[in-house]
Symmetry: C2
Subunit: 300 residues, 2 copies
């Protein structure tokens, strides 16, 4: 399970952080970014051993190719990879927030046997190489999704790769992943942006927000291009998740307008109960982790 060389296409927050972690582990990291300043910084920082041009020639010498562009560019990058003589590449993976379309594209391009999509839950409202940092994946779940044709060797290597940087692989169906993430990740982003838009319309500034309001508007600063790609790629599940939020908000507003304090209280109460259960579940999971101490295979 040697990993000597990894090619990373897109050195933003996630790709850049992965590059830093792998370089620290002694892996030779090569890669491409559309921003020349990013490529320069990654080379000068001693993270990138070699910069690839746009057609990605040279990526075929890597053990693993990681597509770390915004999701709307992943298929085009896979197409360029499919045009390379990648016979010796053992794993092709990605880091996008949606998985169904990229798994399908890899299959259609004949890369399905070696493609295992990845989605590390280590995002941020920040973006770009300058926001990347080592240690970003420690303790983070990483969802792994693949087609039926993916080999055991590719799947095993995906586990090794992510465990090497401290992430916790969770294998899941791509469709189920996208439906779940619509609720757990994409909906939070949309609610934060909606709040920012209401605040903007009201002429409110950040200085008028308390600590809670700041928490709630942090995601609104996320890169619009990245989120346009995610939202459009996951349109149906995200629309459905938004419908659920609309129903909850409408129910609350109607109770408020009717002066129904008992219904208002019950609404807040049930939300608070989820928080308590969620916090308790997290604490329990943390304890299990601490006492269980599952061994993590090292790379190299």
């Amino acid at each position: 399970m040697n990993i000597d060389c990894v090619a990373i296409i897109g050195l933003g927050l996630v790709g850049g952080s992965l590059a830093r972690d792998l370089a620290r582990l002694g892996v030779r990291v090569i890669g491409h970014d559309t921003d020349p300043a990013t490529l320069r910084a990654a080379r000068e920082g001693g993270v990138l051993a070699d910069a690839l041009a746009e057609e990605l020639r040279g990526a075929e010498h890597a053990d693993i190719i990681v597509v770390a562009t915004p999701v709307q560019h992943a298929t085009a990058v896979l197409r360029r990879i499919a045009a390379l003589p990648t016979g010796s590449v053992r794993l092709i993976t990605d880091v996008g927030s949606t998985k169904q379309s990229v798994v399908r594209a890899a299959g259609e391009l004949g890369l399905g046997a070696r493609f295992v999509g990845g989605h590390p839950l280590a995002g941020s409202h920040r973006a770009g190489w300058s926001s990347s940092r080592s240690g970003s994946f420690a303790g983070a779940p990483v969802y792994l999704c693949m087609g039926a044709e993916a080999t055991m060797a590719a799947q095993a290597l995906a586990h090794v790769l992510w465990q090497a940087v401290g992430a916790q692989p969770v294998v899941t169906d791509a469709g189920a992943h996208d439906e779940r993430l619509a609720v757990t990740s994409h909906l939070p982003q949309v609610l934060s942006s909606a709040l920012a838009r209401v605040l903007s319309g009201a002429g409110a500034t950040a200085s008028e927000l308390g600590p809670g309001g700041r928490d709630m508007t942090r995601l609104a600063g996320s890169a619009p291009g990245t989120w346009t790609g995610i939202a459009c790629d996951n349109a149906a599940p995200l629309s459905h998740a938004i419908d659920q939020a609309l129903a909850e908000l409408t129910r609350f507003r109607d109770a408020l307008r009717a002066g129904n304090a008992a219904a208002v209280r019950m609404w807040f109460e049930e939300a608070s109960q989820w928080s308590e259960l969620a916090a308790a579940g997290e604490a329990a999971a943390g304890e299990a982790e601490a006492s269980g101490g599952g061994a993590k295979p090292a790379p190299g």
Copy 2:
């Protein structure tokens, strides 16, 4: 402007934190809480010099009486204060998240000359004495709202009180405050609770959330009773704010369903622009503060 003794009614997150700050400044703090364990802890911690019974007898010996109960109980507490011989009390104030109803109630009870409502923007999803801590108000805005009959002396003393604990007083109309806070504070709470309810319905746990999702659900853990009181007291402005959020979410969902990537991107873009402007405004305000260094009157 001597402040020798302050009576605080309700020793929760805000009342308790204020009590700790004032006790540190050498002010004699007396007070009441409906929870006997809280009263005991506040006395044993050396914060509370004297515990008052429910009818608040003894509060009339304080220079200032602070009502720090959930907003739905404020009027009942003011009624008890109005029944005391409070001729020597120079300021009656509160810390509630809504201001119009409490200012009106103080006026109707004949306390309007000495009543200056306060709302420090230093809340949290945590509640109770055990969550209170000193230093909570440092740098936080505190909105001051009063009726036309409030004396200059009461207003000046309210400034002295809050500046003594590091807060920055902002005098504003009670109605305007409530409309503004419906958008900047109450709507964020409702959106967080709505998200928690959707997650609960989907059977999702906190361990499935990334850092952004955690930010977005933190407020959902707030005390349901406190927020029922705030929401019901500010029903019309909050309903209006929710309507604006519903409109934003509906617009986004419709663009998504129509496959209109340009409209989706514009929607995210405008939210992100608010964040950037808000962050820049904050930085500028911080610099002005650092260079201006306005003198803050000390109490005692």
